[in-house]
Every structure is written in structure tokens, then in C-alpha cells.
């Protein structure tokens, strides 16, 4: 009776640590937004946006990013800005208050973990044990390989950049990160939803418009 209770308790305890489960890669997506602390978004009314998503560190990345959906992604960013009250202008014919650049980075990651195993067989030397293993399991190693990517949306203020500098001050940046799994279609859907989420987290972008 006591052994049954103990076995049931151990089984329940060892199975009950972290019961949550992940049903899709989308559940692992994370969205980060960061405004410059002195930015007054009521001063920024117009924007310009290139029609290309730039891959950062393209030469050193293990993962090549396809550009076949650049237009949809840029259009999603553009629509969110228009919905916030921004007006798009033609650059360089007109000077925008902010330049919006869309870029992405992707890479391959490898995780290695070692599980040393439990000392299951120690009862064997104390008294005859009919239900436990008389050997010491060596443990095992797991290797996990996955691809992950991040989409960046940077809002820059070109008018405040020094004339002799190649650096342009940013006023807002957003980043959407997630695993690269599934089809191109599902990944595009996640990217577009991520763009919407970044702007939803930043309602202050619409101040004064």
C-alpha cells in the first residue's frame, strides 16, 4: 500500500512541474518596441519608406531571406502608419519628417544539452529489489537545431542628423522575433500580424495627428 502511494506520488510529482504546452510556433513570437525617450511624435507628420526589406549581415548568415514578399510587408507597415495619421511623401523629392526602414535578420541556432540520468539502481545493493534496474543509466545528450528571425522597423529622423555624419538618429524601433518554421505563406501571415502588433503596442506614434 505504501509503495503504491509512493510510486503514484512520485509519478504525479515528476510529471507536474511545467505542464504548459506549445501548440504552434506562432505562440513563441515576441514583440518589442522602444521609443526614444525625448521623442515628441506630434512633431512627426510625414514619412517615406523604401520598398525593400534589407537583410542584415547577409554575407555571414546561415539563412537566406527571400525577398518575394517584400512588397506585402512594406505595404503592411505603410498602412499602419497611414492609419495612425501619418502622410506619405515622395523621397527625395520631398523631405519627410521620418524615414521608415524595414530590415530583417535570420540565422541558424544549435542548442546542446546533457541529461546525466538518475541513480535508479542504488536499492539493489541494500536489499533484493525486483522492480528497479540494477544498472546506472549513463544519461543522454540532446541536440536541437532551429532557425529564428527578427523583423525590424526603424523610424529615423533625417533632419536632425549632422551633415558630416553617416549616423541618423532613431525615434522609434520595433522588432518582431520568432522561429522560422512552416510554409512561406504561414510565415508571411505571422510577419504581417507581427507588424500590426508592433504598431498596436505603440499608440503614441499617432500623437498630434
Amino acid at each position: 500500500m505504501r509503495h503504491l502511494l509512493a510510486a503514484a506520488a512520485v509519478t504525479l510529482a515528476l510529471a507536474g512541474c511545467y505542464p504548459g504546452e506549445i501548440n504552434s510556433a506562432q505562440e513563441l513570437d515576441v514583440f518589442i518596441t522602444y521609443p526614444r525617450n525625448d521623442a515628441d511624435f506630434s512633431n512627426y507628420l510625414t514619412f517615406a519608406i523604401p520598398d525593400t526589406v534589407v537583410q542584415i549581415d547577409e554575407d555571414s548568415s546561415e539563412v537566406e531571406i527571400s525577398h518575394e514578399n517584400d512588397e506585402e510587408i512594406v505595404d503592411q507597415v505603410r498602412q499602419n502608419l497611414l492609419d495612425l495619421g501619418f502622410t506619405e511623401v515622395d523621397f527625395p523629392d520631398d523631405d519627410p519628417d521620418v524615414l521608415v526602414l524595414v530590415s530583417a535578420v535570420a540565422d541558424e541556432y544549435t542548442s546542446i544539452s546533457w541529461y546525466p540520468g538518475y541513480w535508479w539502481g542504488y536499492w539493489g545493493w541494500y536489499y533484493p529489489c525486483y522492480y528497479c534496474y540494477p544498472v546506472y543509466p549513463p544519461g543522454y545528450v540532446t541536440v536541437t537545431n532551429y532557425e529564428a528571425g527578427t523583423l525590424f522597423i526603424d523610424m529615423l529622423e533625417p533632419e536632425s542628423a549632422p551633415a558630416d555624419s553617416t549616423e541618423v538618429p532613431f525615434v522609434w524601433t520595433g522588432a518582431a522575433n520568432g522561429l522560422i518554421v512552416g510554409t512561406a505563406g504561414t510565415n508571411l501571415t505571422r510577419i504581417l500580424n507581427g507588424v500590426d502588433r508592433l504598431f498596436a503596442q505603440s499608440p503614441y506614434l499617432g500623437d498630434g495627428k
Binding site: H3, A9, V10, G16, L28, I32, N177
Partner: protein, 197 residues
């Protein structure tokens, strides 16, 4: 967490192999449901249906026992939320939150009624709760843990199931003090199980 599994294994070993005098000690275990309160509820709001309690009680006299109790309750919560910081920065996404609580108490119980009948009891548990809280977001886990001083008043009943076997059902209010940066935890555990001499 591995440390707590070892402690659990040692507690079980003591519970099932101790050479205690049979007529004085009752050993048992049971199922525990935990209802979070206060900060525990704020962090992991779901009722816990993953819990276990192990008990050992020695008869001091016909109405009083003294003993030990060990338990494990797991609380969890999944939510999609956005956290905004004072700077205006924000981070959003799915979070999986977990609270693993391991109460370890010394206790005293007082029983009404007569032996071999249904006996209501009240009790006081004092000891510690090892609390581990963890948040999983994206591919990252953040965790904190602490041993916290705790106490737990308890009410319940024991009832005979046989000559030496007893069933028990109780409600215990577990309260731990803040320690090592982990906030005070509170939850009510409803326990049901069996014990024998």
C-alpha cells in the same frame, strides 16, 4: 528543481521504510488541489489540480498527534500580454507562468470524537515552503526561487476505512513570508487521501 526531486525521494523513502512503532504512527499520502490567493493568484491564477501530500503523524495521546507533512502543488497560467515599462518600451507575446510550491511542515493536530469513528480535527503546521516561479517567453526562461518561512492552519476529518487504515480530508491555508526576493505566497490546499499504521 532537481534538488526538490531528491528531497521528495528522501521523504518518500523515510515514509515507506521507516522502522516506526506501528501502533503510534500513521503514514499516508493523498491528492491535493490548490487554490491560489494574493500574489500567487496574480502570477498564476489557475487552480492547481496537480498536487500531492505526504503525511506522517504520531499519536501523542488519544486526541493529539504530532508529525510531518510534505507536499507539492503546481500552479500555471498561459497568457498573451504586453508589459510596458516606464520608458515607454514594451514587450509583448505569450507567457507561460509556473509556480511550484513545496511545503515542508512540522505539525500538531487535535482530534474530536472517539477512535474508530469519524473525527474532525484542527491543526497547525509550521515550517517552510520552497517556492520556484518561472516565466517562459519566446525561447527564454526566467526563474526565481526561495525557501520561505511558512505556516498553515488546517481543518479536516479522519474516518475509518478499516482496522488500521484511515481516510482523511482537509483544507489547509498555506502562507509563506517574503524571502530572497520572492514575494509572499498564499494558497488553500484541499487534500484527500489515506493513511495506515
Amino acid at each position: 528543481m532537481k534538488t526538490m526531486r531528491i528531497v521528495l525521494g528522501v521523504a518518500l523513502l523515510l515514509g515507506v521504510t521507516a522502522e516506526a512503532r506501528a501502533q503510534d504512527w500513521y503514514w499516508g499520502g493523498g491528492y491535493s488541489i490548490g487554490v491560489p490567493l494574493s500574489d500567487t493568484k496574480d502570477f498564476t491564477s489557475s487552480t492547481s489540480f496537480r498536487g500531492v501530500v505526504l503525511e506522517g503523524r504520531k499519536m501523542v495521546n488519544e486526541h493529539v498527534t504530532a508529525g510531518l507533512s510534505f507536499g507539492w502543488n503546481v500552479f500555471d497560467r498561459q497568457l498573451d500580454t504586453t508589459t510596458v515599462f516606464e520608458s515607454g518600451a514594451a514587450i509583448g507575446g505569450n507567457q507561460w507562468r509556473y509556480t511550484n510550491a513545496f511545503p515542508l511542515y512540522a505539525n500538531v493536530h487535535y482530534y474530536l470524537g472517539e477512535a474508530n469513528s469519524l473525527r474532525p480535527f484542527i491543526g497547525a503546521n509550521v515550517g517552510t515552503i520552497y517556492t520556484e516561479r518561472r516565466v517562459d517567453i519566446n525561447l527564454y526562461s526566467l526563474s526565481e526561487d526561495a525557501w520561505q518561512f511558512a505556516f498553515a492552519p488546517e481543518v479536516g476529518v479522519v474516518f475509518p476505512l478499516g482496522w488500521v487504515v484511515r481516510g482523511f480530508a482537509s483544507a489547509r491555508w498555506n502562507y509563506s513570508l517574503e524571502g530572497s526576493g520572492v514575494p509572499s505566497q498564499q494558497y488553500v490546499s484541499f487534500n484527500i487521501g489515506v493513511a495506515s499504521r
